[in-house]
């Protein structure tokens, strides 16, 4: 248990035993393997590289080659309890759509990403006048896969705009245990090198409790007949 990545350890803590889990960008299946062994989850994966998928198959995991931007639409709604997107949101073409898709497919999304508001990033940009080069962001601007970087505040704003609730949040730092935080505190936006969120839909509980009401008659439908 000692050599488990801190973000994996946090995910392991968050996921309910026996749950249905979709790991998007599952690589060679390390997290799915861990969740299957430790939490007996019914796990599926989505991975972009054929070598990664082949490695997953050899571990007995059910993994489909594909990418988050294109292939999430094929999954039915609420097919999973958790959708995991680990250090990938900043690399997709449509982070907003992907986030919405995660919470269409699953009741909860577990999302982690590097925080562009971290003090080291801010200082790096201010001091050097160049794109930050830090432990969490090691590649030069012309080689990075990170096309949609954001800060903790940007992310919580997007979640609020999408009607998503933050069920749990922890700061991640290389080689250290995850530290539970309140992502709305400004100091955390300085301190957290990366963060992991568990999200659910704000309206999810209401929807689950009672059958969906008939669509209300639009009061001011500009385009109605």
């Amino acid at each position: 248990m000692t050599d488990i990545r801190p973000d994996f350890r946090e995910i392991l803590r968050l996921v309910r035993p026996g749950a249905r889990v979709l790991d998007i960008g599952c690589g060679e299946g390390a997290l799915l393997d861990l969740l299957t062994r430790e939490k007996h989850v019914d796990g599926r994966g989505l991975e972009i590289s054929p070598e990664g998928v082949a490695a997953c198959l050899a571990r007995g995991l059910a993994v489909v080659q594909g990418d988050a931007d294109r292939d999430l639409a094929a999954y039915p709604s609420r097919a999973f309890d958790y959708a995991v997107l680990s250090q990938t949101l900043q690399a997709v073409r449509e982070p907003r759509t992907v986030l919405q898709e995660l919470l269409r497919i699953a009741d909860r999304a577990i999302v982690s990403f590097p925080n562009f508001g971290h003090w080291r990033v801010r200082m790096s940009l201010m001091a050097t006048g160049r794109m930050p080069n830090t432990g969490a962001l090691p590649d030069p601007w012309w080689a990075t896969a990170n096309i949609h970087l954001c800060t903790l505040r940007d992310f919580t704003d997007l979640c609020a705009g999408l009607g998503l609730r933050v069920d749990a949040c922890a700061a991640l730092a290389d080689g250290k245990a995850a530290r539970p935080i309140d992502p709305d505190r400004a100091v955390e936006n300085w301190r957290a090198e990366a963060a992991i969120f568990m999200l659910s839909r704000r309206d999810a509980n209401a929807k689950r409790a009672e059958p969906a009401p008939a669509a209300p008659a639009p009061s001011d439908d500009l385009f109605g007949a």
Binding site: P50, E51, A54, G60, L61, A62, A74
Partner: protein
């Protein structure tokens, strides 16, 4: 060589022709029945005490039951020895491997070149039109006749993959896992178009004699060879053809005529000429028709996911190749999307290869690794271990 020899001895080969009584006709999708059905098959390895290690291999359009042992006519090695054999992902030491010639075929299973006992003559075009589902129904009869109640895996490429999907739709309770390689859940307009070229080539050969050539002692070899030549191009990628032949000439200089000047022409002519030695022209018509009629979604209200609704517990492995333009990756993605929508346990890999559709029969290490990983993991879940020493 010595090591190979001793390995071969562990590959126990069985099989023959199973004849079903008149009381067990094969009911066909067309409404017709085939009485006195005969199925030619090969087996490799032994059924274990739990009867849990049986694997069905489904062959492609021009394949046959000789999947892992030399072909009786051509003498060539089995067509999928990369997958099946000692030390291979499917190993006769662990698995009981069954491969049968499809209904409508010409390698011993009842087909248009068989004798119609009721009429006392060769079927020819009086043979009923068959479908992929008919092939699968016949396979199920054989598997049950061999004492197998559930299959550890149903495995196939190309048309064999269509049979795998049909198995999952019709008899999911009889299978633990499924492997579908370089295939599709329906035939596209382009697929049908190429098949029609092949059929027209056969039917344009005067020797075809309206399908009655066998009784008249004729052989429509020219038409069948052209059909094979046209089809063979669809099995290769442009890059593979270019790499293999380019514009290389057979001899020094051009003939200034219509001999096979280019090596690619000579190669295609050879493919056509050798094909007619082992294949029947009417079988080619019937089997291509079965593939053209294949549309798994159509039979399930137009929704492919509905076809897999009962197959949620089956472990699927779907593979495609980047340069396969006959059954491109988009077709496999449609299958995987439907499996996901049905909540089935699906895995999928698109393998980077420039060898075209034929890649599934060739040296593709990523395919080998994926299939070995998938089948080993499924075997573990199924509780399969190495066969007890004889």
């Amino acid at each position: 060589m010595g090591e190979d020899g001793s390995l071969l001895q562990t590959l126990e080969i069985g099989g023959g022709v199973h004849r079903f009584g008149e009381d067990r006709p094969l009911r066909l999708d067309s409404g017709a029945r085939l009485n006195g059905l005969e199925i030619a098959y090969k087996t490799y390895g032994r059924l274990n005490a739990d009867r849990s290690n049986a694997v069905l291999i489904c062959h492609a359009l021009t394949g046959d039951q000789h999947v892992a042992s030399p072909h009786p006519i051509t003498g060539k090695p089995g067509w999928w020895t990369r997958l099946i054999g000692p030390g291979r992902p499917l190993d006769p030491a662990r698995h009981f491997i069954i491969c049968s010639n499809v209904v409508g075929g010409c390698m011993g299973t009842t087909g248009p070149s068989s004798e119609d006992a009721a009429a006392g003559r060769i079927y020819g075009l009086s043979f009923p039109v068959i479908t992929i589902a008919d092939m699968v129904r016949a396979q199920r009869m054989l598997v049950e006749a061999l004492g197998v109640e559930t299959l550890f895996a149903v495995v196939g490429g190309s048309m064999g993959g269509m049979q795998v999907l049909q198995w999952a739709a019709d008899y999911p309770e009889m299978m633990f896992s499924a492997v579908c390689v370089a295939s599709a859940a329906r035939h596209s307009a382009q697929n049908i178009a190429f098949h029609e070229v092949g059929r027209q080539a056969i039917m344009a050969d005067p020797e075809w004699a309206a399908g009655d050539y066998a009784r008249q002692g004729k052989r429509p070899e020219k038409g069948l060879a052209v059909a094979r030549m046209a089809a063979h191009i669809t099995y290769l990628s442009e890059a593979a053809l270019q790499r293999k032949f380019g514009r290389e000439l057979q001899r020094d200089g051009l003939s200034w005529g219509f001999d096979a000047d280019f090596q690619v022409e000579s190669y295609l002519r050879h493919q056509g000429a050798s094909f007619v030695d082992r294949f029947d022209a009417n079988s080619y018509l019937y089997i291509t028709r079965a593939m053209d009629y294949f549309d798994l979604a159509e039979a399930h209200g137009g929704v492919l996911a509905e076809a897999f609704r009962k197959a949620r517990d089956v472990r699927f492995c779907v593979l495609s190749f980047t340069s396969d333009w006959l059954y491109p990756t988009s077709e496999s993605r449609a299958i995987v999307g439907a499996l996901n929508a049905a909540g089935a346990r699906a895995s999928f890999v698109e393998i980077d290869s420039d060898k075209g559709h034929d890649a599934f029969l060739l040296d593709e290490p990523v395919m080998d690794a994926a299939l070995r990983g998938f089948l080993d993991a499924a075997g573990e879940a199924r509780g399969l271990t190495a066969g007890s020493p004889a």
